[in-house]
């Protein structure tokens, strides 16, 4: 064998691999560690990166944007995505998910998360029936009470539906740090499987009581607004470079890695749900769910770094 030739061939292959990884970011996932999954009540494992739909999936009946969002969902599934979260408050987002699933099918990895909202007035089952028709699914894996609205009535019905096997899990949500005291009481006093709240590197109030409580009670936690509504990552991308030490310590290549790995590396966190309109951002987000993750010491360094900017 001509070793010079084989070495040249090998170098070419490496070069082609680097180029391919550069141009087709999803290929670079093969070089990362495994996509991290965390357990939820009942034993199933969920990928730590999900997909939010607030604002981004509310495209109405626009055929061009319906197809564009379908591509976002396709990329999400292709990269191992599981949980998709929506709400009747998100306009046409449930219909858009229905459109995408009708074209892509429903992969085994899909974990459907919906919400019910006010006024309850005996409408919990009706709301869920309407939403499942819009998604085109037989049942939802998780139904959450949106922003604690009419939560007593909704929760009672949802718990009954879970007992009857009509839904798998029951949850309750808040965002922007609202009504944490009430949320804590619900977590302590009621049998829920999931809680959804705002958690990101600049909004960490939940670290004090709610996350430890979730761990203690075995409640799975979904982090919404991981990029603080997009503002956080936009500002960071515009003004700052990702620190070199982050690349060395946990293979951090961009701000999506930095922000999402910070969230999902918290031991109480189950899943973060960034929302996006763009396929390349889904790929970036999914990559952030791959190991390695920052250690506790590194997480503290990350907090100090962001505070210093």
């Amino acid at each position: 064998m001509d070793h010079r030739h084989s070495r040249r061939t090998a170098l070419k292959l490496i070069g082609a691999g680097i180029a391919a990884a550069w141009w087709m970011p999803h290929l670079s996932l093969a070089n990362s560690g495994a996509l991290l999954r965390k357990p939820i009540p009942g034993g199933r494992q969920l990928p730590v990166i999900g997909l939010g739909t607030w604002q981004t999936f509310n495209v109405g009946r626009d055929p061009q944007l319906l197809d564009a969002r379908t591509e976002v969902v396709r990329a999400f599934f292709e990269h191992g995505g599981g949980l998709v979260d929506s709400s009747p408050m998100y306009g046409s987002a449930p219909d858009v998910m229905g459109y995408a699933l009708a074209r892509l099918g429903t992969p085994d990895s899909l974990y459907t998360a919906e919400k019910v909202w006010s006024p309850a007035g005996g409408s919990t089952r009706e709301q869920i029936g309407d939403l499942s028709a819009r998604w085109g699914v037989d049942r939802f894996d998780l139904v959450q009470v949106h922003n604690l609205t009419d939560w007593r009535e909704h929760l009672g019905v949802l718990q009954q539906m879970r007992a009857d096997g009509e839904i798998a899990h029951v949850g309750i949500t808040t965002s922007h740090g609202r009504r944490h005291d009430q949320l804590e009481r619900v977590m302590r006093e009621h049998d829920i499987d999931f809680v959804q709240l705002t958690y990101n590197i600049t909004h960490r109030q939940v670290e004090e009581r709610l996350l430890p409580l979730a761990q203690e009670k075995g409640i799975a936690v979904i982090a919404n607004r991981p990029y603080d509504g997009g503002r956080l990552i936009r500002n960071l991308k515009r003004r700052h470079e990702v620190p070199q030490w982050a690349a060395e310590e946990f293979d951090c290549r961009n701000w999506a890695d930095f922000l999402l790995k910070f969230i999902v590396s918290h031991p109480a966190l189950t899943c973060a749900i960034p929302a996006t309109t763009r396929v390349e951002h889904v790929v970036e987000n999914m990559r952030a769910g791959h190991e390695p993750m920052p250690t506790q010491a590194t997480r503290e360094r990350m907090i100090r770094h962001i505070a210093s900017l």
Partner: protein
């Protein structure tokens, strides 16, 4: 912390800017070349207002509110925002009000073809909205496909209406007719601010100019009446 202090303006806008710009594009694709007669009717209303034909000026404003309400709000915007159907009703109500005012134009406090400052302000605001507003999209780089036009899109419709109303109406009737356009201009600007759009201040600026001019004219009229009483 009070819950309301945690809300930001963008929390009330349930779509991303690209979805909104695409909505404008879809409307333009679907209804072109309806834009041309719509703007022509608006210009005619302005010219008639300047000539003192209050009845016809008001009557010609009404169809723009009807089409904006039905086409923009009910047919498209309500897909994205549940409030769109309520906005549609408000626009239809404004169309009805303008028609009612046109029918009763003989009995309302109308202004003749005055060359006063408020008339010039009203004419300038209306003309800029009718002719200049569609060009904003081209100037800020979005392209004419995103242009907003009187009669199809609510912001230029409301702004041009404010200008014409300042020319033809006076007193409580003027304020009654200004109410919905001014409220819409506030909503329009807040929506655009939430989306970080460079055109965000325009509707609010137009509403402020027209409201300010109306108040200034009322004060001047009041002072004149007082002086007249002493003479």
């Amino acid at each position: 912390m009070n819950d309301w202090q945690t809300y930001r303006l963008e929390d009330f806008v349930p779509f991303t800017p690209d979805i909104y710009w695409r909505l404008l594009e879809r409307i333009n694709e679907t209804f072109w070349p309806l834009h041309v007669p719509a703007v022509a009717i608006g210009i005619t209303a302005l010219v008639l207002a300047l000539r003192g034909n209050t009845r016809m000026a008001l009557a010609l404003l009404a169809p723009a509110w009807l089409t904006s309400g039905i086409l923009f709000h009910w047919t498209y915007y309500a897909e994205l925002n549940w409030a769109g159907s309520w906005f549609g009703w408000a626009f239809v109500a404004q169309a009805a009000l303008l028609l009612a005012l046109a029918l009763s134009a003989g009995s309302i406090k109308a202004q003749g073809p005055s060359k006063g400052l408020s008339t010039w302000i009203g004419a300038t605001v209306a003309a800029v909205s009718l002719i200049g507003y569609p060009l904003i999209a081209a100037i800020n780089g979005a392209g004419l496909s995103h242009a907003e036009t009187y009669g199809l899109h609510p912001d230029p419709t409301a702004i041009a209406t404010l200008g014409v109303l300042l020319i033809v109406l006076r007193g409580p009737t003027l304020w009654l007719a200004l109410l919905i356009p001014i409220v819409w201009c506030v909503i329009g600007s807040l929506t655009l601010i939430a989306m970080d759009s460079s055109g965000a201040p325009m509707p609010l600026a137009a509403a402020t100019i027209i409201a300010g001019s109306s108040i200034a004219r009322s004060i001047r009229g009041h002072k004149k009446m007082k002086r007249g009483g002493r003479d």
